[in-house]
């Protein structure tokens, strides 16, 4: 509430500390913000994570490379496919494994499906954070459900897919998969438009997200932001374009870039990315060749000693795997560059001095996944 800026007063006033989390509707997991409030305005903010820490990087040092793939499912549990892909690409580069072309196309299809599913979740929860009582979220879940059905159809799991393998993918999709996928990509653009019409022109949503949580392009680069958070600030940086992996160099798509760097821009970038992803899937479906879906590799793959930093553009941005090999079947060092964690670097700058609802929306727009933060 109202205080003056006197030093005497500041020390005399008890800070009003609010613990947002670890169990809170807007932290999207067991994530905790300890916020010092002055009325509605945030004066200081501390982030407390680690409630979901499983020490994945330590555990990985005792397992073979293939055995580590399921860990990546559980790091960013809303983008398991992209995480699988990141690790597999890194290991393939380290060990020099060739990937069949069909597998590369399948990887692109699944990674893009995963991106749509993840963005649906991100945007849905962002609108929920802005106060819409779950309606937009459930609209987006409608499409996400279908994508998860496709995952289940292919690899038997909906969330922790464990689908990619070093040298390809685990299974070729069943024959029923392709018509279902065709149906999905045919209806997706209309569904995305429907969702957009529900939210993006809503005057209240604009009032809540315009000029909130603004990050300038320079700050975003310096603060190591990646993914939609970086692109929302106007920086056209997308690893699929910058260093194309798999077969992204054969796809035609565009990178959406925001204008102001606010919450609304990040929201809109995600919306546009789902449209682009649909286009990529369509192209991949048209181009996909036959052939094997996997190269055979030794059960205990022993990459030569050395190190590699492999990365992909996951739904939350640059997902890197820094692997150090000493020639044994298990990695000597296994480090995940988690976009959710590093995107939080600027949270304090975004949240201090604004009101609590704005901070909640800003946090929601960064699209954090606690499994990815804590690993």
């Amino acid at each position: 509430m109202a205080t003056t800026s006197d030093a005497a007063n500041d020390t005399a006033n008890e800070p009003y500390v609010l613990n947002i989390g670890p169990q809170h509707p807007s932290t999207h997991g067991v994530f905790r913000l300890r916020v010092v409030m002055d009325g509605e305005v945030i004066r200081d903010l501390d982030m407390i994570v680690g409630y979901l820490h499983r020490s994945m990087e330590k555990l990985a040092e005792e397992r073979t490379y293939t055995q580590n793939i399921p860990f990546t499912d559980r790091a960013d549990y809303l983008a398991a496919m992209s995480n699988n892909l990141g690790l597999c690409l890194a290991v393939e580069r380290l060990a020099g494994v060739e990937v069949p072309e069909r597998a590369s196309y399948l990887r692109v299809i699944f990674a893009e499906l995963q991106r749509i599913a993840s963005h649906a979740m991100a945007n849905g929860t962002l609108v929920s954070d802005a106060g819409a009582w779950q309606t937009p979220l459930l609209y987006m879940f409608r499409e996400r459900e279908k994508i998860l059905d496709l995952f289940e159809m292919t690899c038997g799991a909906r969330l922790t897919t464990n689908y990619m393998r070093i040298g390809g993918v685990a299974f070729d999709p069943p024959p029923e998969f392709w018509p279902a996928l065709q149906e999905l990509v045919d209806e997706l653009p209309a569904r995305i438009d429907e969702y957009a019409s529900l939210v993006q022109d809503s005057e209240i949503f604009l009032a809540r997200t315009r000029n909130v949580g603004v990050i300038t392009a320079a700050d975003a680069i310096n603060g190591s932001l990646v993914g939609p958070a970086l692109r929302g600030s106007g920086v056209p940086w997308d690893l699929r374009k910058a260093e194309p992996y798999c077969v992204y160099d054969r796809m035609e798509f565009e990178v959406p870039v925001g204008r102001h760097g606010d919450v609304y821009d990040r929201f809109m970038v995600r919306m546009e990315e789902t449209r682009q992803s649909t286009a990529i899937i369509k192209q991949a479906m048209a181009q996909i060749p036959g052939g094997p879906h996997k190269t055979d590799i030794p059960l205990a793959l022993r990459p030569p000693a050395g190190e590699v930093y492999g990365r992909v553009e996951g739904p939350r941005g640059e997902l890197g795997f820094y692997l150090v090999s000493d020639g044994t079947p298990a990695p000597y060092r296994f480090h995940i560059r988690a976009p959710s964690l590093i995107n939080l670097s600027l949270l304090r700058e975004m949240a201090v001095g604004v009101s609590l609802p704005d901070a909640v929306v800003a946090l929601g727009s960064l699209d954090i996944i606690v499994g990815d933060i804590d690993r």
Binding site: A2, T3, T4, A8, N9, A12
Partner: protein
């Protein structure tokens, strides 16, 4: 009926009003907290309101429509003014309490002795 013969007269209302006024005065005089003092003052004003309304109701002008020259509802109008003044006074007094707190970090009236230097 049990209540026969227990009719309520003007004196009853005045007595109740006197008691409330007295309690209000005690609160206003004895409390340390400025807000509590204000509560006492509001109670005293309320007691006065009760008196005014009682006189208005029990005066013969009330039912005879001012036949004897008095306005029947003047008491009510006075009460309206008292309400107005009370609201204004409460707003200003509470603003002052907040202000005093901001400068002196207390609303304890025993410690607010600016004039003592």
């Amino acid at each position: 009926m049990i209540l026969e013969g227990l009719s309520v007269t003007l004196a009853h209302y005045l007595a109740v009003s006197g008691v409330i006024f007295g309690i209000g005065a005690v609160i206003a005089l004895s409390k340390r907290n400025a807000v509590a003092v204000l509560m006492g003052i509001e109670l005293m004003l309320n007691a006065v309101n009760l008196t005014l309304l009682a006189f208005s109701r029990f005066s013969s002008a009330f039912t005879q429509g001012g036949a004897q020259g008095g306005e029947p509802l003047s008491g009510h109008v006075f009460v309206v003014f008292v309400l107005t003044v009370a609201a204004a006074e409460a707003a200003v007094a509470l603003a002052m309490a907040v202000l005093v707190y901001r400068h002196r970090e207390t609303v304890d009236l025993d410690r607010i002795n600016l004039l003592r230097g």
